[in-house]
Symmetry: C2
DNA sequence: CAGCATCCCCATCGATACTG
DNA sequence: CAGTATCGATGGGGATGCTG
């Protein structure tokens, strides 16, 4: 069990509405899609892994190198989570020594789309944020 | 000090490139804008607070009610962080008893834009993800 | 090479109680 | 009403070592 399921938080209905849900009200109140997704991509490693795999599929060690300082433990765990979510595929080649290739799925690729929008926003407003922080800290 | 500064992670340059940075290379390698932003909005409360304030400014207690089950402790702390980032303003009315109104800034409002895109994605693909999980767990 | 198991730390968050 | 202060539990995640 990776973690507890997303909270069925009252404000999540707000979030869902904010997300421009279709006409019909969400039938399953026990899950908030927004939080469900954000819990994943909001973490450090999942995002970096998705980005690392964007240009091309990679093997375990190559993912580790691409991401940089992730431990094998977290890499394994995060890859599992992403595979479980259908964001990437895990293909084992029974060579000697074994090699495992990870590749984005269409779903994983499509996720990078809105993430890129967010990244663009971050890049655009980063200076403003940093300035705001400095001003705030002068107090 | 809210938390440690964002890691100057090698893959962040990848992330930055992915975010379609302008021609010039980022001069400050010690900060990754993408992680900087994601560290915030990836957390539970900041997002819910931004969403709660989107329709209209709210006072402390009203934010708490709007968000739902957040403790005063986390609410205070998160509001501070968001204020520090320039995402919202804090205006104190010296009435008796005192009241404090929190309102989104233009920056905070603009942040909800890409977040909405992400939320829309989450809403759209949530079923697919849940299905992938169920299939994965059948093993 | 890929990945699992173990240990352990410490940051985060909730609960509670108190103040201006 | 709008916080601050303090304590305590919980679990995320790093380091290390072992296996197929």
């Amino acid at each position: 069990m990776p973690k507890a399921p997303a909270s069925n938080h009252p404000a999540c209905t707000e979030a869902a509405r904010f997300a421009a849900v279709p006409p019909g009200a969400p039938p399953d109140p026990s899950v908030c899609p927004v939080r469900d997704v954000l819990d994943r991509i909001g973490q450090k490693w999942p995002l970096l892994i998705l980005i690392a795999l964007e240009p091309a599929p990679l093997r375990f060690s190559n993912v580790q190198r691409a991401v940089g300082d992730i431990s094998k433990r977290m890499l394994t765990q995060t890859l599992r989570d992403l595979e479980r979510d259908g964001m990437l595929t895990r293909r084992v080649y029974p060579t000697k020594p074994p090699s495992v290739e990870y590749a984005l799925t269409a779903l994983g690729r499509s996720a990078l789309d809105p993430i890129a929008a967010l990244a663009a926003w971050a890049d655009l407003h980063h200076d403003t944020i940093r300035a705001a922080r400095q001003q705030f800290d002068a107090a």
